[in-house]
């Protein structure tokens, strides 16, 4: 599997993404600067976390209009897998690859801790190595992770199995207490229609080696390698 990681001014999780991809695939991913207008031939594009453009205007708004994003959108239209993590989720959503929007956390606080998630759909290259309903733990670190979409869109997402991950309690129970940022229906990650684009606020790339204290993110990268090699 060949992957590209997109870099913006203010990206800061690109090394974690590169390390997780390299460990899983055995191949170092390309790192592509936001001003570039061309992408090498790749099977996967990762838009990593950080604070692109200092979150000016709205988180992800500036980066969504970077020159490279035109190419990312064109590749996504061709079915190339796109993974947007944290700020990357905000960027690909602002770019129109995913529905809805990421707003300021309902509690107004920056949240930096590990959260418990339930894998809601395993019918994608991203989630194929998980069991449906599996409980996993990934870290989060964000200020604008409050996923919002109108009621009709949420209904469509849920009906079409496009909710990838949901925030839940440690035993997998649905409980608003364990929704860290106020996301509608506790949605932590969503797919596009073809399930070739995934955006999520939590960081699977920071749960892949024993030193992270948790290996729950590893199946996501292993699944991509298996599907795309």
């Amino acid at each position: 599997m060949k992957a590209a990681v997109i870099l913006f001014p203010g990206s800061n999780r690109e090394r974690d993404a590169v390390a997780a991809l390299e460990a899983a695939s055995g191949t170092r991913p390309y790192e592509v600067w936001h001003r570039d207008t061309e992408l090498p031939k790749v099977d996967l594009i990762v838009v990593p976390g950080g604070f692109s453009y200092g979150d000016y205007l709205r988180a992800g708004a500036m980066a969504a209009h970077s020159p490279i994003m035109r190419e990312v959108k064109a590749r996504a239209d061709q079915g190339v897998r796109v993974l947007g993590i944290c700020n990357g989720f905000q960027i690909v959503t602002e770019a129109g690859l995913l529905p809805g929007a990421l707003m300021r956390n309902a509690g107004l606080k920056f949240i930096c801790r590990t959260v418990t998630l339930r894998v809601e759909n395993t019918d994608s290259a991203f989630t194929a190595k998980y069991r449906k309903g599996q409980i996993v733990r990934y870290p989060v670190a964000h200020h604008d992770g409050n996923y919002w979409a109108d009621a009709e869109t949420v209904k469509r997402l849920e009906g079409d199995g496009r909710v990838a991950f949901r925030y839940v309690g440690d035993a997998g129970e649905d409980d608003p207490l364990h929704n860290p940022n106020g996301s509608v229906r506790a949605i932590a990650g969503v797919f596009n229609e073809k399930k070739t684009v995934l955006g999520l606020m939590p960081h699977p790339e920071d749960a892949v080696v024993p030193l992270h204290g948790c290996l729950d993110g590893k199946p996501l990268f292993d699944g991509l390698v298996e599907a795309l090699s």
């Binding site: 708004a61 209009h65 707003m103 956390n105 309902a106 509690g107 107004l108």
Partner: protein, 80 residues
Amino acid sequence: MKAKVHVTLKRGVLDPQGKAIEHALHTLGFDGVGNVRAGKVIELDLKATDADSARTEVEAMCNKLLANTVIEDYAIELVA
């Protein structure tokens, strides 16, 4: 021509900053205040000299970048 763009969260979209401001105002004794909404103002200088083309241009800017119309409304104020 100058333009001021007011961007606010849509009615029905929870505005936690507005809520926090409202709470602080109540704490300060301003009991008669409610429905506080926080937004932003963006000021622009435009080359356009007539109001119609200025408005059309700023509307395009709002839809493309200045506002996220999934969650935000915008209002354009033109100043000659």
